[in-house]
Symmetry: C2
Subunit: 330 residues, 2 copies
Amino acid sequence: MENKIKVGVVGYGNLGRGVELALNAAPDMALCGVFTRRAPEKVRIQSKNVKVYPVDELPARAPDFDVLILCGGSATDLPVQGPAFAALCSTVDSFDTHARIPEYFSNVDAAAKSAGKVSLISIGWDPGLFSILRLYGNAILPDGADYTFWGKGVSQGHSDAIRRIEGVRNAKQYTVPVKEAIDRVRAGEYPALSTADKHTRVCYVVAEEGADQKRIEHEIVTMPNYFADYHTTVHFISEEEFARDHAGMAHGGHAIRCGKTGKNGETEHVMELSLSLGSNPEFTASVLVAYARAAVRLSREGKSGAFTAFDVPPAYLSPKSAEELRKTLL
Amino acid sequence: MENKIKVGVVGYGNLGRGVELALNAAPDMALCGVFTRRAPEKVRIQSKNVKVYPVDELPARAPDFDVLILCGGSATDLPVQGPAFAALCSTVDSFDTHARIPEYFSNVDAAAKSAGKVSLISIGWDPGLFSILRLYGNAILPDGADYTFWGKGVSQGHSDAIRRIEGVRNAKQYTVPVKEAIDRVRAGEYPALSTADKHTRVCYVVAEEGADQKRIEHEIVTMPNYFADYHTTVHFISEEEFARDHAGMAHGGHAIRCGKTGKNGETEHVMELSLSLGSNPEFTASVLVAYARAAVRLSREGKSGAFTAFDVPPAYLSPKSAEELRKTLL
């Protein structure tokens, strides 16, 4: 225990619970505390002998941790917590608002550099592993194109949008990649595809008793930005079916790089990373835990500031020695 | 030109030609010389204003280069050239004899460290990109299993073995992955699969006139180590068909990591890197060129010794700045 990496988890929702599970599978790391905005006594965690603290105590308790895994959301939690906690301890987070990454990076970088800590931002599978495939793909095949397909998986934002419609009791929206579009990309056709060309939207809706289902369906499929540009299917189901069939958090997708080599670009290559994830939060948590190990290693090397998955040598994610990795996995 | 990375190519076969092509697509790198064991005047390269030198001149000319890309074979060339040239200049190679990697690493490491140079060994797609998928997979999903499928693609060793049979004029052997086996792995069945369970062998043979085709087929399918344990198909074809249909060097494959998370391992995940390569040597060369850029960057940081793809941050493969990468690819 004494030599293990001491990990703190900030925020105990689906992602925080996933981190707790992933740490159980890490031989060199230990969960040493959970921080929450709720009343600590109301947060029941699975691990025994691990304390739950009010997040206000983080400044005082940070020196007891090697790294904090930030499990808040990208919309409102991380923009505040990321820079604030980077000034206290090395951190890892899954900030995923693509358009705001440069700004977020710069805020976290400044805080981490002043404190002499390491912060790994935007870790997960997209941004994260898919970004890495895009980077390797662009570097190896500079003459080419990137395609990303998401799903089948739940979009929280789209599910929320449906739930705001009058007469809707509950709803879940799946983003489903269009198989024909994937096949065209894999065949090296270099099709021009919008997000709507690449995905359909499938909605499962529990309506209030007596609600006008035709009106609800119409409001969904014509909703600007969210659904109007997409091929959208709406299924009305019972509360029981909803609970039975749509509680899961599976997700996944395909990041594809197509590229040409040869004197006149006559040789075609396709690189594809496919993920099929039984649970989006459990997988993302497992990625965060591996990068928490890397953050500690970078910090022990004397590095400081913000970094992304692009900056981390793959070997830093593993508890095994370089020699063992070369022997067993190369 | 003056600010470009100065690259030397050692060995001008299929791989060396591929490197020359890949360098044309790299805005920040320039081919500045080719070294050969043949008489230089007999080696015709595509690039104008680039000289071909006898490999014996490498010790004297090495200071004119930032990095050498070694394009020799793993059986006899690289075990000698790797350590010898690592003492002269930073190098990148595609050493792929898995069992001998630890020994090769140690020889190259000693030479590169004494000389204060950087050598990246075993770069390509397997070892290389597939190894990276295995490493990310093992670090993220420690409770799981690795599966690697190769092909469809030509195995040089198996083609050579057929050509040694009496009465065979020419032959090409394709390693073909078994689709049902891939499907079982993707479905999370964790099947126990030997290399023979995962691949079939398809042979195209041009027989000498009057040769006994039944005997040749029998000698192929019963050949120990190479074919006896596999499902092997033999097709006899004409010299014309051989030249028309079997001149290509396409290859590819699938590296798959299946893993479990959750309290009792109840959640299944599959990570898969698939490659479909129009030309094995052109793609491998493109990987080598991207890592040559990384070797120069590591060297400029003051690093020395041997490294593998595991030790290189993804960003080091790209000519773009960290800021641009975060903005465009993360």
